[in-house]
């Protein structure tokens, strides 16, 4: 699976999308939590992604996603390093929840993040990362040439 060369208009479009997303993220992270506006600020990009995932132009291309390394090697990619990280995180979260969820000694991930979220700039950066994580697979599929995907798998 290779990628299309990036044209100037595509690059400008990408930059425009990034700027628009950044403006939206700044607004969304300035909204007080537990309000209707906060739910809309998070729900809008989620709803857009859900619609794009189900009926979007690239939804028909996903069958061509390779299960092997990008270099074409037949060796399957190992996921055990991620499993280790996931098990450690779940264990720590489980311990924090078992201690009541508000323990000073073993805080849950939410409690740790809450301290970071007290600053607007941190909320903005995390929101941008959240948007990128959600939309990345779809943008990757759009950016991948359909002709390059033929014969993959």
């Amino acid at each position: 699976m290779t990628r299309r060369p990036i044209a100037v208009d595509s690059l400008l479009g990408f930059v425009g999308i990034c700027v628009a997303a950044a403006i939206y993220a700044w607004w969304a992270t300035g909204v007080p939590p537990f309000t209707l506006r906060a739910y809309i600020a998070v729900g809008l990009p989620a709803l857009m992604l859900l619609v794009a995932a189900l009926i979007g132009p690239s939804s028909g291309r996903v069958e061509a996603i390779p299960a092997t390394l990008p270099s074409g090697a037949s060796k399957p990619q190992r996921v055990f390093p991620w499993v280790i990280v996931l098990v450690l995180a779940l264990s720590l979260e489980g311990l924090g929840l078992a201690l009541g969820g508000r323990s000073q000694a073993v805080p849950t991930l939410s409690t740790v993040i809450d301290h970071a979220l007290s600053r607007h700039v941190v909320r903005f950066i995390l929101f941008c990362a959240w948007l990128a994580a959600g939309w990345a697979p779809l943008l990757r599929l759009i950016h991948t040439s359909p002709t390059d995907q033929k014969g993959v798998d």
């Binding site: 969304a28 992270t29 939590p33 537990f34 906060a38 739910y39 600020a41 998070v42 729900g43 990009p45 989620a46 992604l49 859900l50 995932a53 189900l54 939804s59 996903v62 069958e63 996603i65 299960a67 390394l69 270099s71 060796k75 990619q77 190992r78 996921v79 390093p81 991620w82 990280v85 450690l88 995180a89 720590l92 311990l95 924090g96 000694a105 073993v106 805080p107 991930l109 939410s110 409690t111 740790v112 993040i113 809450d114 301290h115 979220l117 007290s118 909320r123 995390l126 929101f127 959240w130 994580a133 959600g134 990345a136 697979p137 779809l138 990757r140 599929l141």
Partner: protein
């Protein structure tokens, strides 16, 4: 304090893992795993649902510490 450091260590490990996965060592990258999930409609919906829950929990329902 120790647990907070542990959380930061887990986060740092994940970032290092993400970087290492792009060196051709044979570890699945985050993008690859996400794309694998996008192979079928149910996987796509699951991905969006998990992602939306994280956003809802972190950005719409956070509590500022006193």
């Amino acid at each position: 304090m120790v647990a907070t450091v542990a959380w930061l260590a887990i986060l740092a490990t994940a970032i290092v893992w993400a970087a290492v996965s792009h060196t051709g060592i044979g570890w699945a990258s985050v993008t690859t795993m996400a794309l694998r999930l996008w192979r079928n409609p149910l996987g796509r919906v699951a991905y969006v649902a998990i992602w939306a829950f994280v956003g809802w929990h972190v950005f719409a329902r956070y509590t500022l510490p006193r």
